[in-house]
């Protein structure tokens, strides 16, 4: 789905419009307005972050002063100083992710598409990214599409959540709406998004059984014999 939104793949059926454009028909227009952080950073490994940012800013025809100001601030924020001129191949997964994030943010995209953006990030960078996401959502006409398996992150920063299970959208709405739909937390306590997710996808029982099996597998031998 994310690849289709970004004009990287074609839908097998149906269609969609992004910021008024069909990505299959007008990929250049869509890509000009999107900043995309993929789940796996497929960057040019032999380039340095500086080389890559130069390339991206040039392809996006950015004004030099604007590009320098933004990239400078972002690189400082994400502590890229000591990696700025090192080949990307030599960077850790988290640093590669930071490079990917800076490359996606530098042109101040109208739509920011983030696929598991917290992968490998340290606590400071995660926090900065969350703040950037919040700032992005406050800009008029701007939006963030955020894909994650970490429910706590989605719960904290998303105002509209879609739950996709086995390739199908099973629920969509604000956290409150999803709670109501799943009837989770009906006992008075506020259900977390994780509980909502498990209830909506009917995975609670399966998890209970899995945990039970794991307990038995890892139990000390005596306990197993005695049990």
């Amino acid at each position: 789905m994310i690849r289709i939104i970004n004009g990287l793949a074609d839908p097998t059926s149906g269609g969609l419009r992004v910021l008024g454009y069909d990505p299959a028909e007008s990929p250049i227009e869509v890509k000009s307005k999107i900043g995309y952080v993929p789940e796996t950073s497929n960057l040019y490994e032999s380039l340095s972050p500086r080389d890559l940012f130069e390339f991206v800013a040039s392809i996006r025809r950015m004004d030099a002063a604007v590009a320098n100001a933004r990239v400078g601030k972002l690189a400082e924020a994400f502590d890229l100083g000591q990696y700025y001129d090192s080949p990307i191949a030599t960077l850790s997964m988290g640093t590669k992710q930071k490079v990917s994030i800076v490359a996606a943010l530098m042109h101040e995209p109208q739509l920011l598409v983030l696929d598991e953006p917290m992968n490998g990030l340290d606590a400071k960078s995660s926090r900065i990214l969350k703040d950037i996401i919040t700032l992005q959502t406050q800009r008029p006409g701007a939006a963030v599409l955020f894909s994650t398996h970490i429910m706590e992150v989605a719960e904290n920063i998303c105002n509209k959540i879609g739950i996709i299970y086995q390739g199908k959208l099973v629920a969509e709405g604000s956290l409150e709406e999803l709670r109501a739909k799943s009837a989770a937390g009906a006992d008075g306590e506020e259900a977390t998004l994780e509980e909502v997710f498990l209830r909506l996808t009917h995975e609670e029982e399966e998890i209970a059984e899995t945990v039970k099996a794991l307990r038995e597998a890892f139990a000390p031998p005596q306990a197993r014999v005695g049990g």
Binding site: I28, K31, G72, Q82
Partner: protein, 557 residues
């Protein structure tokens, strides 16, 4: 850990080394274009590595045997010496060429990182690393040595000659493996060094040019060795005119081994005259020296492998940057700079940089053999320069690698990619007119109008490069060659399917027509009408028309 266990375990890290090397040097472009099924991609690369190893093994064995069998024609000591020399040179060339594909990631040690987390002793780890390295060459070396030894035994029937052939092949293999590992280590350092300074960039370029030049020279070693054969013959028949030339030849590897094997097969001939005895004596002494050197080289190879196992080569130096300034360019120059930067760190791309050097040397040597330079010679030299360039154009597609997925998410049109790569390809042609002009200005020539021929060809080379690349870089609007509407579709040539090969042949045929058009026009008008001015004008017209035509085609697609 038992040796068998270590050998078994080493298969995993060997496969990882081969996979990473493939990704490092050629990228996994095909997988990225296909939408990326990682499992399929890995399987394909691993299978490709095995096929490549088998192919090279067959090739090195057949070539070695074929060259040695040439001795049958003459049945002379010089014939045997030449055949052994040639056979050894071919073996080392193919082994090094093969290793350029498989070994580049070895020195980084990443393929062994998982092993370090397992409860393995330092000795076990070193053993597994050594076996992983050995798997790169295993049956290729065995087949190459065995072929040479068996063929020499059958041809000469001499036990001593057979033993010497075995030793010579072993020495040769030790050198080949050492060269391969040294290239791998240098490549790894080149990749991980980084740095923005001009010194670092120049050092990388110098390294790449020398690497590419070496690779090209190895590929053309048949020609070089072929030219050395008469000298070997002269050394062993006493017909070399220069004093001490025969002794000097006998000192060189692998000529010394060739002469020594021949001396063992023809002991009477080796001592028939005092001058021949000296030549053979020198070759035996040099052979012993090379044996000792091979031991030193083997120990060095081993210590490098142990250093890899202990992670001693994988250190990466970092320098803190406080200045984050970027240099913004237009899209085509930006794409060109990006490609040039990637190519400057890839051994597979090295020959793109070495091409200008090689073209200049080749054309310079070719033209120096003529007394008066006429139309035919200049057209042939220009055409040869074009041919070199055309083989480099599609190789530039491999600069994309896995990064293509990243570029596909950017607003870049396919024409930008074609234009940038075509420009690099055309730039690699520019030494051709320079070399031809120099030859024309320094030597005698028919008409000064000949100077224009290689320059007018530049537009045709650009058109041919663009057309060639257009076969692989599709159109995002109409689906293009790859039948998908994804924004940018390019396909690397790292994993050639039948379709890829067909497309490559088609693209080369079209490119050859485009570069050939202006040259044929010139040749026909110049030779038939003897009107050189008209020939030049028409050639220029065809060349520029081709360029305009290809540009219009690319715009319309």
């Amino acid at each position: 850990m038992k040796l068998g266990e270590a050998w078994k375990l080493s298969k995993t890290s060997y496969v990882e080394v081969a996979y990473r090397s493939n990704v490092m040097t050629r990228g996994t472009a095909r997988g990225a274009f296909a939408g990326g099924d990682p499992a399929k991609r890995v399987r394909s690369i691993v299978r490709g590595t095995l096929i490549s190893k088998i192919s090279f093994t067959v090739l090195v064995s057949l070539a070695s045997a074929y060259v040695l069998l040439q001795y049958e024609r003459s049945r002379t000591p010089a014939g045997l010496a030449g055949a052994v020399t040639f056979s050894l040179a071919i073996a080392v060339a193919y082994i090094v060429l093969y290793s350029l594909q498989v070994l580049p990631s070895f020195s980084g040690g990443e393929s062994f990182e998982l092993l370090t987390t397992l409860p393995l002793s330092k000795r076990d780890l070193s053993l597994v690393t050594f076996f992983s390295f050995a798997r790169t060459f295993d049956f290729m070396l065995v087949a190459s040595i065995a072929t040479q030894v068996v063929v020499v035994a059958l041809l000469t029937g001499s036990a001593l000659a057979t033993v010497l052939m075995f030793l010579a092949a072993a020495v040769n293999s030790a050198f080949a493996v050492w060269i391969a590992l040294t290239f791998s280590t240098l490549f790894y350092r080149n990749i991980t060094k980084g740095g923005r300074g001009k010194g670092a960039a120049l050092a990388r370029l110098a390294f790449l040019i020398s690497w590419g030049f070496a690779a090209l020279s190895i590929a053309f070693s048949f020609n070089f060795i072929a030219t050395a054969l008469p000298a070997i013959d002269g050394a062993l028949t006493g017909t070399l005119s220069r004093p001490l030339a025969a002794e000097a030849l006998a000192l060189l590897h692998p000529i010394s081994e060739g002469i020594a094997v021949s001396g063992a097969a023809y002991p009477g001939y080796a001592t028939s005259t005092s001058s021949l005895a000296i030549v053979y004596g020198v070759s035996y002494a040099a052979f012993v020296a090379y044996l000792l050197l091979a031991v030193v080289v083997a120990r060095r190879t081993l210590s490098t492998i142990l250093a890899v196992a202990q992670g001693k080569l994988s250190g990466v130096a970092r320098t803190l940057t406080t200045e984050f300034k970027l240099r913004i360019r237009s899209p085509v120059p930006a794409y060109l700079v990006k490609d040039a930067r990637i190519a400057s760190k890839s051994p597979q791309m090295a020959f793109v940089f070495a091409l200008p050097v090689f073209e200049t040397v080749f054309i310079g040597l070719y033209l120096s053999g003529f007394g008066v330079l006429g139309s035919g010679t200049i057209v042939y030299a220009t055409g040869t320069g074009c041919a070199f360039t055309l083989f480099g154009a599609t190789a530039l597609l491999n600069t994309e690698g896995t990064g293509l997925e990243f570029t596909m998410a950017l607003p870049v049109v396919s024409k930008t990619i074609v234009d940038a790569k075509s420009l690099i390809s055309t730039l690699s042609y520019t030494p051709v007119p320079v070399a031809i002009s120099a030859a024309l200005l320094l030597g005698k020539h028919g008409t000064s109008l000949l100077l224009a021929v290689p320059f007018l060809e530049i537009a045709a080379v650009s058109a041919a490069s663009s057309a060639e690349l257009a076969f692989f870089v599709g159109n995002y609007k109409s689906g293009g060659i790859l039948q998908t509407s994804s924004a940018v579709q390019t396909r690397g040539l790292s994993l050639l399917s039948a379709g890829d090969i067909l497309r490559l042949v088609e693209s080369l045929a079209v490119a050859a027509l485009l570069v050939g058009g202006p040259l044929v026009t010139y040749a026909i008008v110049a030779e038939l009408l003897k009107n050189y001015a008209m020939a030049v004008v028409l050639m220029g017209g065809v060349s520029v028309s081709e360029w305009v035509g290809v540009q219009l085609f690319l715009r319309k697609r």
